[in-house]
Symmetry: C2
DNA sequence: TCAACGCCTTACCAATGGGTAATGTATTAC
DNA sequence: GTAATACATTACCCATTGGTAAGGCGTTGA
Protein backbone atom coordinates (compact mmCIF):
# COMPACT_ATOMS: atom_id res chain seq x y z
CA UNK A 1 0.00 0.00 0.00
CA UNK A 2 1.66 3.15 -1.15
CA UNK A 3 -1.30 5.35 -1.98
CA UNK A 4 -2.12 7.55 1.03
CA UNK A 5 -5.79 7.69 0.06
CA UNK A 6 -5.94 3.91 0.06
CA UNK A 7 -4.17 3.72 3.41
CA UNK A 8 -6.64 6.15 4.91
CA UNK A 9 -9.83 4.47 3.71
CA UNK A 10 -8.51 1.00 4.56
CA UNK A 11 -7.69 2.28 8.04
CA UNK A 12 -11.18 3.72 8.46
CA UNK A 13 -12.81 0.49 7.29
CA UNK A 14 -12.40 -1.26 10.64
CA UNK A 15 -14.92 -0.45 13.41
CA UNK A 16 -12.33 -0.96 16.15
CA UNK A 17 -10.05 1.60 14.55
CA UNK A 18 -12.91 4.08 14.17
CA UNK A 19 -13.71 3.59 17.86
CA UNK A 20 -10.07 4.26 18.71
CA UNK A 21 -10.31 7.51 16.78
CA UNK A 22 -13.45 8.38 18.73
CA UNK A 23 -11.69 7.74 22.03
CA UNK A 24 -8.73 9.83 20.98
CA UNK A 25 -11.05 12.64 19.96
CA UNK A 26 -12.63 12.63 23.42
CA UNK A 27 -9.50 12.25 25.49
CA UNK A 28 -6.96 14.38 23.70
CA UNK A 29 -4.22 11.75 23.82
CA UNK A 30 -4.02 8.28 25.38
CA UNK A 31 -1.63 5.39 25.90
CA UNK A 32 -1.97 1.94 24.41
CA UNK A 33 -3.02 0.39 27.72
CA UNK A 34 -5.62 3.09 28.34
CA UNK A 35 -7.13 2.40 24.95
CA UNK A 36 -6.87 -1.37 25.40
CA UNK A 37 -8.86 -1.05 28.64
CA UNK A 38 -11.82 0.08 26.53
CA UNK A 39 -11.79 -3.16 24.55
CA UNK A 40 -12.36 -6.06 26.97
CA UNK A 41 -12.64 -8.59 24.18
CA UNK A 42 -9.29 -7.66 22.68
CA UNK A 43 -5.68 -8.18 23.65
CA UNK A 44 -3.40 -5.18 24.03
CA UNK A 45 -1.18 -6.25 21.18
CA UNK A 46 -4.18 -6.11 18.89
CA UNK A 47 -4.73 -2.47 19.76
CA UNK A 48 -1.08 -1.85 19.06
CA UNK A 49 -1.49 -3.26 15.57
CA UNK A 50 -4.53 -1.09 14.95
CA UNK A 51 -2.60 1.95 16.10
CA UNK A 52 0.17 1.07 13.65
CA UNK A 53 -2.35 1.03 10.83
CA UNK A 54 -3.78 4.37 11.95
CA UNK A 55 -0.31 5.84 12.17
CA UNK A 56 0.63 4.52 8.71
CA UNK A 57 -2.50 6.21 7.39
CA UNK A 58 -1.44 9.46 9.05
CA UNK A 59 -4.56 9.58 11.23
CA UNK A 60 -2.71 9.46 14.55
CA UNK A 61 0.68 10.54 15.81
CA UNK A 62 2.69 9.04 18.69
CA UNK A 63 5.17 10.63 21.08
CA UNK A 64 7.25 8.83 23.67
CA UNK A 65 6.96 9.65 27.35
CA UNK A 66 9.35 7.39 29.19
CA UNK A 67 8.24 3.85 28.58
CA UNK A 68 4.78 4.96 27.59
CA UNK A 69 3.66 6.00 24.15
CA UNK A 70 1.07 8.74 23.84
CA UNK A 71 -1.20 8.64 20.81
CA UNK A 72 -3.03 11.69 19.53
CA UNK A 73 -5.19 12.52 16.53
CA UNK A 74 -3.24 13.82 13.55
CA UNK A 75 -5.53 16.19 11.67
CA UNK A 76 -3.17 16.48 8.71
CA UNK A 77 -4.49 13.34 6.97
CA UNK A 78 -8.04 14.58 7.36
CA UNK A 79 -7.19 17.78 5.61
CA UNK A 80 -4.72 16.59 2.97
CA UNK A 81 -6.44 13.35 1.92
CA UNK A 82 -10.03 13.21 3.12
CA UNK A 83 -11.01 16.79 2.45
CA UNK A 84 -9.88 16.80 -1.22
CA UNK A 85 -11.71 13.53 -1.78
CA UNK A 86 -14.86 14.93 -0.21
CA UNK A 87 -14.57 18.05 -2.31
CA UNK A 88 -15.12 16.02 -5.48
CA UNK A 89 -18.57 15.00 -4.28
CA UNK A 90 -19.45 18.27 -2.66
CA UNK A 91 -22.09 19.24 -5.24
CA UNK A 92 -23.79 15.88 -4.66
CA UNK A 93 -24.01 15.68 -0.93
CA UNK A 94 -24.37 19.37 -0.25
CA UNK A 95 -27.95 19.20 -1.43
CA UNK A 96 -28.64 16.18 0.77
CA UNK A 97 -26.96 17.91 3.66
CA UNK A 98 -29.26 20.87 3.33
CA UNK A 99 -32.24 18.52 3.46
CA UNK A 100 -30.79 16.87 6.56
CA UNK A 101 -30.39 20.22 8.21
CA UNK A 102 -33.96 21.10 7.36
CA UNK A 103 -35.09 17.86 8.97
CA UNK A 104 -33.03 18.61 12.08
CA UNK A 105 -34.55 22.06 12.33
CA UNK A 106 -37.98 20.54 11.92
CA UNK A 107 -37.34 18.01 14.71
CA UNK A 108 -36.04 20.76 16.95
CA UNK A 109 -39.17 22.71 16.27
CA UNK A 110 -41.22 19.68 17.31
CA UNK A 111 -39.35 19.43 20.61
CA UNK A 112 -39.96 23.04 21.36
CA UNK A 113 -43.66 22.72 20.60
CA UNK B 1 -23.02 -6.12 8.38
CA UNK B 2 -25.99 -4.26 9.72
CA UNK B 3 -24.46 -0.98 10.81
CA UNK B 4 -24.85 1.59 8.02
CA UNK B 5 -21.67 3.36 9.07
CA UNK B 6 -19.74 0.10 8.79
CA UNK B 7 -21.28 -0.65 5.40
CA UNK B 8 -20.28 2.77 4.13
CA UNK B 9 -16.65 2.71 5.27
CA UNK B 10 -16.19 -0.89 4.14
CA UNK B 11 -17.57 0.10 0.75
CA UNK B 12 -15.18 3.03 0.49
CA UNK B 13 -12.22 0.87 1.47
CA UNK B 14 -11.80 -0.61 -2.00
CA UNK B 15 -10.02 1.48 -4.68
CA UNK B 16 -12.12 -0.02 -7.48
CA UNK B 17 -15.31 1.06 -5.74
CA UNK B 18 -13.95 4.57 -5.15
CA UNK B 19 -13.09 4.75 -8.85
CA UNK B 20 -16.64 3.68 -9.70
CA UNK B 21 -17.92 6.52 -7.56
CA UNK B 22 -15.60 8.90 -9.40
CA UNK B 23 -16.92 7.72 -12.76
CA UNK B 24 -20.52 8.09 -11.60
CA UNK B 25 -19.77 11.60 -10.37
CA UNK B 26 -18.44 12.56 -13.81
CA UNK B 27 -21.07 10.87 -15.93
CA UNK B 28 -24.27 11.43 -14.02
CA UNK B 29 -25.46 7.84 -14.38
CA UNK B 30 -24.02 4.81 -16.15
CA UNK B 31 -24.78 1.16 -16.89
CA UNK B 32 -22.79 -1.80 -15.63
CA UNK B 33 -21.22 -2.46 -19.04
CA UNK B 34 -20.22 1.18 -19.45
CA UNK B 35 -18.48 1.07 -16.10
CA UNK B 36 -16.94 -2.33 -16.82
CA UNK B 37 -15.42 -0.90 -19.99
CA UNK B 38 -13.30 1.35 -17.77
CA UNK B 39 -11.76 -1.63 -16.01
CA UNK B 40 -9.95 -3.75 -18.63
CA UNK B 41 -8.41 -6.01 -16.02
CA UNK B 42 -11.77 -6.88 -14.48
CA UNK B 43 -14.72 -9.03 -15.52
CA UNK B 44 -18.16 -7.43 -15.72
CA UNK B 45 -19.54 -9.60 -12.96
CA UNK B 46 -16.91 -8.18 -10.64
CA UNK B 47 -18.19 -4.68 -11.28
CA UNK B 48 -21.68 -5.91 -10.59
CA UNK B 49 -20.58 -7.19 -7.20
CA UNK B 50 -18.92 -3.88 -6.40
CA UNK B 51 -22.07 -2.03 -7.37
CA UNK B 52 -24.05 -4.29 -5.04
CA UNK B 53 -21.76 -3.32 -2.18
CA UNK B 54 -22.09 0.35 -3.05
CA UNK B 55 -25.86 0.04 -3.22
CA UNK B 56 -25.98 -1.81 0.12
CA UNK B 57 -24.00 1.06 1.60
CA UNK B 58 -26.50 3.53 0.14
CA UNK B 59 -23.85 5.25 -1.96
CA UNK B 60 -25.50 4.49 -5.30
CA UNK B 61 -29.03 3.92 -6.52
CA UNK B 62 -30.13 1.86 -9.51
CA UNK B 63 -33.12 2.24 -11.81
CA UNK B 64 -34.17 -0.19 -14.53
CA UNK B 65 -34.40 0.90 -18.15
CA UNK B 66 -35.51 -2.14 -20.11
CA UNK B 67 -32.80 -4.74 -19.73
CA UNK B 68 -30.24 -2.19 -18.67
CA UNK B 69 -29.67 -0.95 -15.16
CA UNK B 70 -28.68 2.67 -14.64
CA UNK B 71 -26.58 3.47 -11.60
CA UNK B 72 -26.37 6.95 -10.10
CA UNK B 73 -24.80 8.50 -7.04
CA UNK B 74 -27.07 8.50 -4.00
CA UNK B 75 -26.14 11.54 -1.90
CA UNK B 76 -28.28 10.45 1.02
CA UNK B 77 -25.61 8.20 2.55
CA UNK B 78 -23.07 10.99 2.33
CA UNK B 79 -25.31 13.27 4.28
CA UNK B 80 -26.86 10.88 6.78
CA UNK B 81 -23.80 8.77 7.62
CA UNK B 82 -20.60 10.41 6.48
CA UNK B 83 -21.41 13.98 7.43
CA UNK B 84 -22.35 13.19 11.05
CA UNK B 85 -19.16 11.14 11.40
CA UNK B 86 -17.08 13.98 10.00
CA UNK B 87 -18.78 16.43 12.30
CA UNK B 88 -17.30 14.68 15.33
CA UNK B 89 -13.80 15.49 14.12
CA UNK B 90 -14.61 18.90 12.77
CA UNK B 91 -12.68 20.81 15.46
CA UNK B 92 -9.61 18.71 14.65
CA UNK B 93 -9.41 18.90 10.92
CA UNK B 94 -10.84 22.37 10.55
CA UNK B 95 -7.58 23.80 11.81
CA UNK B 96 -5.59 21.62 9.43
CA UNK B 97 -7.91 22.57 6.61
CA UNK B 98 -7.25 26.23 7.24
CA UNK B 99 -3.53 25.57 7.05
CA UNK B 100 -4.05 23.68 3.79
CA UNK B 101 -5.99 26.58 2.37
CA UNK B 102 -3.25 28.95 3.42
CA UNK B 103 -0.74 26.75 1.62
CA UNK B 104 -2.92 26.71 -1.49
CA UNK B 105 -3.18 30.47 -1.40
CA UNK B 106 0.56 30.68 -0.98
CA UNK B 107 1.15 28.42 -3.99
CA UNK B 108 -1.28 30.46 -6.04
CA UNK B 109 0.58 33.55 -5.07
CA UNK B 110 3.80 31.91 -6.24
CA UNK B 111 2.28 31.10 -9.63
CA UNK B 112 1.15 34.67 -10.06
CA UNK B 113 4.58 35.98 -9.15
C1' DT C 1 21.69 -5.19 39.03
C1' DC C 2 17.49 -7.12 38.27
C1' DA C 3 12.71 -7.72 38.06
C1' DA C 4 8.52 -5.67 36.50
C1' DC C 5 6.38 -2.80 33.21
C1' DG C 6 4.86 -0.88 28.54
C1' DC C 7 4.95 -1.52 24.09
C1' DC C 8 6.47 -3.47 19.60
C1' DT C 9 7.37 -7.42 16.69
C1' DT C 10 6.88 -11.84 14.84
C1' DA C 11 4.58 -16.11 13.84
C1' DC C 12 0.58 -18.21 13.22
C1' DC C 13 -4.65 -19.22 12.61
C1' DA C 14 -9.39 -18.41 11.13
C1' DA C 15 -12.37 -15.40 8.68
C1' DT C 16 -13.22 -12.04 5.37
C1' DG C 17 -13.13 -10.31 0.77
C1' DG C 18 -11.77 -9.48 -4.14
C1' DG C 19 -11.52 -12.03 -8.22
C1' DT C 20 -13.16 -15.40 -11.88
C1' DA C 21 -16.22 -18.79 -14.07
C1' DA C 22 -20.64 -20.72 -14.64
C1' DT C 23 -25.50 -20.51 -14.28
C1' DG C 24 -30.01 -18.13 -13.92
C1' DT C 25 -33.44 -14.56 -15.32
C1' DA C 26 -35.57 -11.02 -17.63
C1' DT C 27 -35.63 -8.32 -21.82
C1' DT C 28 -34.83 -7.22 -26.61
C1' DA C 29 -34.05 -8.39 -31.49
C1' DC C 30 -34.69 -11.40 -35.37
C1' DG D 1 -40.31 -18.95 -30.77
C1' DT D 2 -35.42 -18.50 -30.55
C1' DA D 3 -31.15 -16.37 -30.02
C1' DA D 4 -28.62 -12.72 -28.06
C1' DT D 5 -28.17 -9.14 -24.65
C1' DA D 6 -27.60 -7.15 -19.86
C1' DC D 7 -27.23 -8.16 -15.15
C1' DA D 8 -27.67 -10.86 -11.03
C1' DT D 9 -26.36 -14.81 -8.50
C1' DT D 10 -23.85 -18.69 -7.01
C1' DA D 11 -19.82 -21.37 -6.12
C1' DC D 12 -15.20 -21.46 -5.72
C1' DC D 13 -10.00 -19.90 -5.22
C1' DC D 14 -6.50 -17.22 -3.38
C1' DA D 15 -4.70 -13.05 -0.98
C1' DT D 16 -5.52 -10.15 2.72
C1' DT D 17 -6.57 -9.17 7.37
C1' DG D 18 -8.21 -9.23 12.27
C1' DG D 19 -7.13 -11.81 16.06
C1' DT D 20 -4.13 -14.33 19.59
C1' DA D 21 0.18 -16.02 21.72
C1' DA D 22 4.98 -15.67 22.46
C1' DG D 23 9.22 -13.32 22.46
C1' DG D 24 12.15 -8.98 22.27
C1' DC D 25 13.59 -4.36 23.64
C1' DG D 26 13.92 -0.28 26.15
C1' DT D 27 12.39 2.00 30.62
C1' DT D 28 11.45 2.30 35.44
C1' DG D 29 11.81 1.33 40.32
C1' DA D 30 13.69 -1.32 44.20
Amino acid sequence: MRDPQDDLFKALADPTRRRVLDLLAEREGATVSELAAEFPNLVASGISKHLMALRAAGLVRSTRDGRRQIYRLEPEAFASVLAPWLAKYEPYWMAALERLRALADCAEGDRKA
